[in-house]
């Protein structure tokens, strides 16, 4: 009985909150949660650049409502802080939408409160497949590792590689990449001779590559989170002489992430990766996006893949505001974008109604030098890739 009363009370309180929020709905607040400081600060900076680029191109008014973005720093994988930051945005700032979220544990911490708060969350990065299953109000505009690794494994098998060694960082996304690649590669008849899981805190990668050298693999597949470790790994790969020996490095695009790529240097030329987005994707839309985002971030060297997910994320939020005419109705908002397809700077994308992640084109790219800068040049494409982690 008491429990029932409490529940009714909570529902009433929520109703009051909704009424209060939609009464003055001229300005719609959108909370952006991202790593604006700390080890992942580049990601947060790109979130902001993507958001500002979208606003610069499309304006800040949707269906007669002015949209205002409120930023909050979430510097590391701290679920406790993630929850209180989201609470702060929902309760105090009265945001109608949440966007951003770089790391998976943060998404898990925020997911359970979305329904009670009546707020949709658009994920700009966090890439674990199961995130969208944690709440029906989550939509994702980035990618998953299953999505980027599966086409690569198919391509590698098709290219005739029989024996391969896998090196991934020993944490959630690394395990996802390993599972995706191994399953697909073995199904295509390839053999994984060994799997090396490297500690997240590793500084010198040469011992792992020595191990690769001692195996009889013809190629090595790698996943590491972009940043200091990808630079260290790519350098160690070149220095270990594996490149000369003809053992190819194949990786997801995280390893040749553009800002880190410049630090690896010319030795990276020729490394092949698969990813959902390259800064030099050849389309007018992308050139406009890069111009706007570069202006927003201030330094061309810092522009990177999270910006495009943020750009598309704001697109989705604008569509949701249109569909609900500015009213706070999370369920309708999410339903309205389910199945939504549009042309993104990365190419055609569509929100899969089942997974609420993007179905998108994944590109095979090769590192090349253009105008003095190292870029990921697209050389092949695999259209309509779903999140293979959830779509079997």
């Amino acid at each position: 009985m008491l429990q029932k009363l409490m529940r009714i009370g909570a529902a009433a309180a929520t109703l009051v909150l909704i009424a209060g929020a939609s009464a003055g709905a001229d300005t719609i607040k959108v909370g952006i949660i991202g790593p604006l400081s700390g080890p992942f600060a580049l990601g947060g900076k790109n979130f902001k650049a993507g958001v500002e680029a979208y606003v610069a191109v499309h304006g800040d008014t949707v269906a007669g409502n002015k949209v205002e973005f409120v930023y909050r720093d979430l510097d590391g994988p701290d679920p406790g802080k993630a929850k209180s930051v989201a609470q702060d945005l929902i309760i105090k700032e009265k945001v109608q939408y949440l966007g951003g979220v770089y790391l998976t544990p943060s998404a898990f911490a925020i997911a359970p409160m979305l329904e009670e708060a009546n707020v949709p969350l658009v994920i700009f990065n966090a890439a674990t497949s199961s995130i969208t299953q944690k709440s029906p109000l989550i939509v994702r505009t980035s990618f998953t590792l299953w999505q980027t690794a599966v086409p690569l494994a198919k391509q590698v098998a098709k290219d005739g590689v029989k024996k391969l060694i896998i090196t991934v960082t020993d944490y959630g996304p690394g395990n996802d990449a390993e599972a995706a690649f191994r399953k697909t590669f073995e199904a295509a008849g390839g053999k994984v001779v060994e799997t090396i899981k490297m500690p997240l805190s590793a500084a010198d990668f040469s011992p792992f590559l020595q191990r690769v050298k001692d195996s009889d693999a013809e190629a090595v597949f790698a996943f590491l989170p972009s940043g200091a470790s990808t630079v260290g790994f790519a350098k160690a790969y070149v220095e270990s002489g594996l490149k000369e020996k003809g053992i190819k490095l194949l990786a997801t695009g995280d390893v040749t992430e553009e800002s880190g790529l410049q630090a690896v240097g010319d030795a990276a030329i020729g490394i092949r990766t698969t990813y959902h987005y390259s800064l030099v994707h050849d389309s007018a839309l992308n050139r406009d996006f890069v111009a706007a985002a570069t202006k927003a971030i201030g330094n061309a060297d810092e522009l990177s893949f999270p910006a495009v997910a943020a750009y598309d994320g704001v697109h989705v939020i604008y569509k949701m505001i249109e569909a609900t005419a500015g009213k706070q109705d999370a369920k309708t908002a999410v339903q309205s974008v389910s199945g939504l397809a549009w042309e993104s700077p990365r190419g055609p994308v569509k929100i899969d109604p089942v997974t609420r992640s993007l179905t998108q084109t994944i590109y095979l790219r090769e590192v090349a030098k253009e105008n003095g800068r190292l870029v990921n040049k697209e050389i092949a494409s695999y259209p309509d890739q779903p999140d293979w982690g959830l779509v079997k």
């Binding site: 529940r7 309180a13 909050r72 994988p77 679920p79 929850k83 702060d88 309760i91 998976t104 544990p105």
Partner: protein, 330 residues
Amino acid sequence: MSAVTARPSPLRGDFIKLAAVALAGLAALVLFPNDLGLMTRIASSAFLVVSLDLVTGYAGIATLGQAALFGLGAYAAANANLAGLGEPILMVAVGGLAGAVAGLIFGAVVLRSRGLAQLVLTIALVQLVHEAANKLSDITGGSDGLSGIDVAPILGAFRFDLYGRTGFVFALVLLLATLAVLSVIVRSPFGLKLRAIGRDPGRVRTLGAAVMPALLVTFTLSGAVAGMGGAIEAISTGVVGLDSVSFERSAMALVMLVLGGSGSLYGAVAGTAVFMGLESIISAANPFHWLIIVGVLLIVVVLFVPRGLTSLAGDVRRLLAIFGLRRDKR
């Protein structure tokens, strides 16, 4: 008991401080009803910092690995929940128990050495626990975090809500109860012995008192307090991440302790509240460059408030002395 009755005024002081914490908590509930998420985080972190104070402030053993105990409590409580234990009070008990066992083991390893070597042992231990938690993803969720914690209403009556009212009151009541128990313990003969060990363990040993068992008891007690804090965080957040067993979390706890003033339970609480409160305010005001401000504040505190923030509270004379110290920079 004689030691306690011989010092009636400090005990009364404890009651006043306890009442002050309770009042501050209630005031927060009324004045900042929109910030209860942060307040709950402060309360659960206060457990960690208080537990650190027991070993570092009282027993004189510096550790940079205290979060190992906190996080193990959190993982234990979360696993108990996933196995079907919904009642939050029992989850906290599980966390406290797991923390106590971990604390005993931690103490047994660490107490074999002293000084710098000891400090590094604590670092190595927390890193080992962190690596193990990452590896054992079946029971810890690995780097994705252990999610899916579904807490029942407290005693079947009080449901955890979006605003975090229930969560905050729950954490606050447990914190007050823990502080009350610990105040009695640190004033007891055992507590006095502990302080003596902290100042000069050799002398206590010469006086014929057993040092090692007392320290092991302290580590166990400290582990229980830390584990309870971990459980409370698991309950209020719903996710336990690897950060809860990290070196970074341990180091931040030490920073909060020193900020508030070590060797005083209420200093630990004040340090936690001030640091996390300021961090939240500064990082909301300037989410990009707040770290610079926090860093400079820490330096300023060491320069001008060398004995921690509690040395400021209520003592006007000392306040004046500090301004005096400011004038004659040595």
